[in-house]
Amino acid sequence: MRFLDYFRSKKTSSASVAKERLQIIVAHERGRRDQPDYLPQLQQELLAVIRKYVQISDDMVQVEVDRNDNCSILELNVTLPE
């Protein structure tokens, strides 16, 4: 296998690395673009409310909006510490 990998890795051109990196960052940025402006604020306020009861860090609350044809779903994901 090592022998084959040697030839394979050599074929990863810089252009294909560029394409892959771009696809990831562009998809990520498009996702944020479509979200409502109030989302970061909402996330902060939710965090503050939950912190009244449980100690959690910033990254333990995820807020996302999923758009379907005729409605949007606000998805709230809170990870509580053990």
């Binding site: 051109s13 810089s14 252009a15 294909s16 560029a18 394409k19 990196r21 771009l22 696809q23 960052i25 562009v26 940025e29 498009r30 673009r33």
Partner: protein
């Protein structure tokens, strides 16, 4: 009613002004009365590329602020009939371009011109927003390079949310991808993103591919829009792009590397 076309990119140095000069020249050459407006207040350069820098008396901001009439500010191109240039101000602040002011000028131009080409400044600040706000169509100039592609995607997002068409809920701005400084030999060696790669990422229709060419710098040195270099690959690629903009079907050229034989190397200087 004039058709308003913005030439934009987000990133600087990708060829917006070169493209604005060539597209507007190409439209006028085909008999469409065209005006090209430089929106880069404070850093005007379209006048240099179009070789009229010594004929600028009044500018876009003078007209907006009522210090000059449009007729006083418009510069008539000396090479192509039906082509006019409205230069940017070199001394004012970018904020001198107000939404109302720009709208008044565009409306007045709409009465006599068929095409209004807006040469956007780089960035996503005020000047760039003003350049794209009234657009019916957008030519997104992109280099096959990571930062340019990302910035183009950003500007597409802005076209889709902050243009007048978006704000009014009208039919969206028609988007065109123009890939510039394309080097087919490097693409073949896997050193440069291909046309297909960029199309796949940005997902907008391809207007044209302009090959990287020494002719472009030579033409700008002399103040000649490169589309007038009719024997050159870049000039012909711009001519194709203008034809497609007007609805003509043209096959894409200059997308594969030319294999040079021994003789052409010897006699055409490589």
């Amino acid at each position: 009613m004039a058709r308003i076309i913005v030439v934009t990119s987000g990133k600087g140095g990708v060829g917006k002004t070169t493209t604005s000069a060539s597209i507007s020249t190409g439209l006028a050459k085909r008999g469409h009365k065209t005006v090209v407006i430089d929106f880069d207040v404070g850093l005007r350069n379209l006048d240099l590329i179009m070789n009229c820098e010594r004929r600028v008396v009044y500018d876009f901001v003078n007209v907006i602020q009522g210090e000059a009439t449009l007729n006083q500010a418009l510069i008539r191109d000396k090479r192509v009939e039906d082509l006019y240039i409205l230069p940017a101000s070199q001394t004012r602040e970018k904020e001198a371009l107000t939404k109302d002011g720009v709208e008044r000028v565009i409306n007045e131009l709409s009465e006599t011109f068929e095409y209004i080409v807006c040469d956007s400044p780089a960035g996503i600040e005020h000047g760039a927003l003003m350049a794209l706000y009234y657009a019916d169509e957008a030519i997104v100039v992109t280099n096959p390079e990571v930062s340019s592609v990302r910035d183009s995607d950003r500007i597409l997002g802005i076209l889709q949310s902050k243009s007048r068409r978006a704000e009014m809920g009208q039919e969206p701005v028609k988007e065109h991808l123009l890939l510039t400084r394309y080097n087919p030999a490097r693409v073949q060696r896997g050193e440069m993103l291909s046309v297909a790669d960029v199309e796949e990422i940005l997902a907008i229709p391809l207007l044209g591919v302009i090959p990287e060419s020494q002719v472009v710098l030579n033409a700008s040195n002399r103040g000649v829009p490169v589309i007038l270099e009719e024997d050159s690959d870049a000039g012909q690629a711009y001519d194709d792009a203008v034809a497609r903009l007007l609805g003509e079907e043209r096959e894409h050229r200059f997308m594969t590397a030319q294999k040079k034989g021994f003789f052409s190397r010897m006699f055409k200087g490589g």
